[in-house]
């Protein structure tokens, strides 16, 4: 455990090493939700989707915060390790790469949250929300959805990163992941804007349970079904990640590694 704790501190220090870069990266991630606040403010009445202007502002502010913590970029880390060959540093040490990736992901997500929170607070001061957009006020439910969303995002990103063992460039797949998280994860638009058939189909996919789920628990009409679906996807991606990782490690070759 001590070695992973040391790694956690090291990764956190690495994250804060280039502070301007960190702030710019956070701001870049927040542009989409903030832009949507501006757009919705400009189009006037939003009653057609069952949300008031104030609820929409609150929705996007909270989504920005959730996006910072629940979006995983571990695929970038793995891609870099594999392409540069520095993955050997972890494979030849008594460390589990999956645990290292988990620690690294957690440290960066905490870093992003710490950096992004003051910006979100500033936005709340500029755009004070007068109503809350949460579909459920149960803190236990909200925490559980955050944990499931966090884990699911990690597993999907990890599986994607490991694909670099086979492909020279995974930029296209990373783009696909980015758009799916942004669009189907409810970051770009609230789910209330999706046609009813879309919503029905989407609730069977893993995407609703990634980013904005804590804000719309029970919106599908059946909380139990949502949790069962989310957990099912969690186990599917857990199994998939293990298989892809094992196959990738078998395929990998480097100087001095057999």
């Amino acid at each position: 455990m001590k070695k992973y704790r040391t790694l956690f501190v090291q990764f956190l220090k690495e994250y804060f090493a280039y502070r301007i870069r960190v702030i710019l990266s956070i701001l870049t991630q927040m542009v989409t939700p903030i832009a949507m606040i501006f757009v919705f403010s400009g189009i006037g009445s939003t009653g057609q989707i069952g949300l008031s202007q104030s609820q929409i502002v609150s929705y996007f502010l909270l989504t920005s915060l959730l996006y910072l913590f629940l979006n995983s970029n571990i695929d970038d880390f793995l891609k870099q390790l594999i392409q540069e060959g520095t993955i050997v540093n972890y494979l030849t040490k008594p460390l589990s790469l999956i645990k290292v990736a988990l620690i690294r992901d957690l440290s960066w997500r905490i870093g992003k949250l710490v950096t992004g929170l003051p910006i979100i607070i500033l936005l709340i001061v500029i755009y004070p929300p007068t109503s809350q957009p949460l579909n459920s006020n149960n803190p236990l439910l909200i925490i559980t959805t955050v944990i499931i969303g966090y884990s699911l995002a990690f597993l999907i990103s990890f599986s994607l990163g490991v694909i670099t063992f086979w492909l020279e460039e995974v930029w296209g797949l990373q783009n696909l992941k980015y758009v799916l998280f942004l669009f189907l994860g409810g970051v770009a638009l609230p789910y209330q804007m999706f046609p009813p058939l879309w919503q029905k189909i989407l609730y069977c996919s893993p995407f609703p349970y990634l980013i904005s789920w804590p804000l719309r628990i029970g919106l599908s009409g059946n909380i139990l079904k949502e949790f069962i679906t989310a957990l099912l996807w969690l186990f599917i991606f857990l199994w998939l990640t293990k298989i892809v990782y094992r196959l990738g490690i078998k395929k990998y070759s480097a100087m001095g590694v057999s």
């Binding site: 301007i20 542009v31 400009g42 189009i43 020279e168 460039e169 930029w171 797949l173 783009n175 669009f183």
Partner: protein
């Protein structure tokens, strides 16, 4: 003489593009996935737009006007991606790594050589898609768009792509003085989201935000106005053209002024 110069730079561009294609074709699956990844963005823009347009109205713009705006957005931004994006990013990295000498030592215009690299079949296809979408949406308008408006709109679209390039060239030029500015460039570029919606959408914003958001929205709204509005709003278009000419000239001046701060890695 102008004809010879044009031929010279066209052949340089073709050589660079061929080299890029040869490299990409070596990894066909990666190339295919890049095309898919890029088209996912096109699909994303289409879907977000269609969901919006089905629920809301934008002040001063009909449904079909909005689709013309989306087509214009694709033409402007994917033209930028196709012709300029790679060059801008590589310039920043080359300057940071001290490898910019290669461009300074060549008997060709440094700005054109370094920043107009071209590439991305997926971007070219997206431009074509944008053209098709714009034409299809214009055919659905309630009125016939005069030929002069179409020509003006096409010129304004090209100007918008060059404006975007000029803005990012100014940012890239900062790398000569301040090092790696890739993150700054990416941050400013993320403002492209404001270009997806009409300029009138942002009328309620505070002035300090308006000054940041409106130029990005104008990149697509002004050409789209030329394609859709009869009569033409001449004043905004005139101001936009003058501002664009100033930006394009300033970007070139700033780029060459900044080169004096460059230090080679050799």
């Amino acid at each position: 003489m102008l004809k010879n110069k044009f031929r010279k730079y066209l052949s340089i561009y073709i050589i660079q593009f061929r080299a890029y294609l040869t490299h990409e074709a070596g990894y066909r699956l990666s190339m295919f996935l890049s095309i898919v990844g890029s088209f996912v963005f096109v699909l994303y823009n289409l879907l977000v737009f269609s969901f919006f347009v089905n629920k809301f109205m934008f002040p001063g713009w009909d449904k079909q006007d909005i689709w013309v705006l989306l087509g214009t957005f694709m033409m402007v931004f994917y033209s930028y991606f196709y012709f300029f994006y790679k060059g801008i990013i590589k310039t920043i990295r080359n300057v940071h790594d001290g490898k910019f000498d290669y461009f300074l030592l060549k008997p060709a215009d440094t700005q054109l050589l370094a920043t107009i690299l071209g590439g991305g079949i997926h971007n070219f296809l997206a431009v074509v898609f944008g053209i098709v979408l714009t034409i299809w949406s214009m055919l659905q308008l309630n009125h016939v768009v005069p030929i002069m408006h179409i020509l003006l709109g096409s010129v304004l679209t090209a100007i918008s792509a060059i404006d975007l390039y000029s803005l990012l060239l100014v940012l890239a030029s900062l790398s000569f003085r301040y090092g790696n500015v890739e993150d700054v460039t990416n941050f400013i570029f993320s403002f492209q989201i404001f270009s997806r919606y009409p300029i009138e959408t942002y009328h309620r914003l505070p002035v300090f935000l308006w000054l940041v958001v409106i130029p990005f929205s104008a990149l697509t709204s002004i050409p789209a106005m030329a394609f859709t509005k009869v009569p033409l709003p001449l004043v905004p278009i005139g101001i936009y053209v003058l501002a664009s000419l100033f930006l394009i000239a300033y970007a070139r001046y700033f780029f060459y002024k900044s080169i004096q701060y460059y230090t080679s890695g050799n």
